[in-house]
């Protein structure tokens, strides 16, 4: 059984290692050619990535209009179990975590110019963004992202 002194030494040494790591991380941060800020704006990260890639975004009121008008093919990028539990009316499941198994079936519903809007859970979920990138690589030119996703859809009146 380690003595009390032994445990104190252990904790002191662990604190010293943490302090050394902190010091090194600060020095590395200061000289790093591609340094990042200590606090980043991650709340809108998916939207930022989408805009950088030139993917248009829609908000919840616009998404409601799209769903009501039936002008777009709506793709749900969440896992199938989440889709089954609830989804935007008219949406087609295309779970990004199992894309290979569902892609061919969903592709039958699409043509290259057809407007497509993809969504997932919202928040920090980026499956719909990744699905948009995938669809564009496959030649679909009119791909839109509903980044606020299912959470915002469910919460909105």
């Amino acid at each position: 059984m380690p003595s009390r002194e032994h445990i104190q030494d252990l904790l002191l040494h662990a604190l010293l290692l943490a302090a050394l790591s902190a010091l090194l991380s600060v020095i590395a941060w200061a000289v790093h050619p591609a340094r990042i800020p200590w606090v980043g704006d991650w709340a809108h990260h998916v939207e930022t990535l989408a805009l950088r890639e030139g993917i248009p975004l829609v908000n919840t009121p616009e998404m409601r209009r799209i769903a009501a008008a039936g002008t777009h093919l709506i793709l749900d990028a969440r896992p199938l179990a989440d889709f089954d539990a609830g989804h935007i009316p008219g949406a087609v499941p295309l779970p990004y975590d199992n894309l290979d198994a569902h892609y061919e079936q969903a592709r039958l519903l699409m043509s290259p110019e057809m407007p497509v809007v993809a969504y997932c859970s919202g928040g920090s979920c980026d499956d719909s963004f990744l699905l948009c990138l995938h669809l564009r690589k496959q030649g679909f030119t009119n791909v839109i992202l509903y980044a606020e996703g299912w959470t915002a859809w469910e919460a909105s009146p």
Partner: protein, 148 residues
């Protein structure tokens, strides 16, 4: 029969190499690692970048001390044990939540291999190794007969 000291030395070297190999790509690409931390959807947004900047150095310092410093070996073993338990729980919880992401363990590439229960098993084995190394490091220096 392989002596206990050699087994523990093997565990120590494996853990140190794992931590050093994990730390380097994250230190080289903090933005990539921040993205990996973010994709776990667990850390508050305000702590994502801080974690991405600090954690790799913690891994590097602990890995080096576990390998080369007799004085700091118990503390580095304790930190590595804590981190391994944390990583094991983190990956398990992420899988349970149905989040399909790359690990961000040894590569910050989001297209790298996805996490799975195999990763949980690997982490559990490493946690067990870290536990034995920590117990050994706690023993008084005279009786420990720890290699090197």
């Amino acid at each position: 029969m392989i002596p206990r000291v050699r087994i523990l030395l093997f565990f120590r070297v494996v853990l140190a190499i794992v931590f050093l190999c994990a730390a380097v790509p994250k230190i080289i690409s903090p933005a990539g690692f921040a993205e990996a931390v973010y994709r776990y959807q667990l850390a508050p947004y305000s702590t994502v970048n801080f974690t991405a900047i600090f954690l790799p150095w913690m891994e590097l310092v602990s890995g080096l001390c576990l390998l080369f410093s007799r004085k700091f070996r118990p503390a580095s073993a304790l930190i590595i044990l804590g981190l391994m338990i944390f990583f094991t729980v983190l990956v398990s919880v992420t899988l349970y939540r149905g989040i399909d992401i790359s690990c961000g363990c040894f590569s910050v590439n989001p297209e790298a291999a996805r996490i799975g229960w195999k990763k949980v098993a690997e982490n559990a084995v490493l946690s067990l190794m870290a536990f034995f190394v920590f117990l050994d490091a706690l023993r008084p220096a005279v009786t420990a007969r720890s290699a090197l």
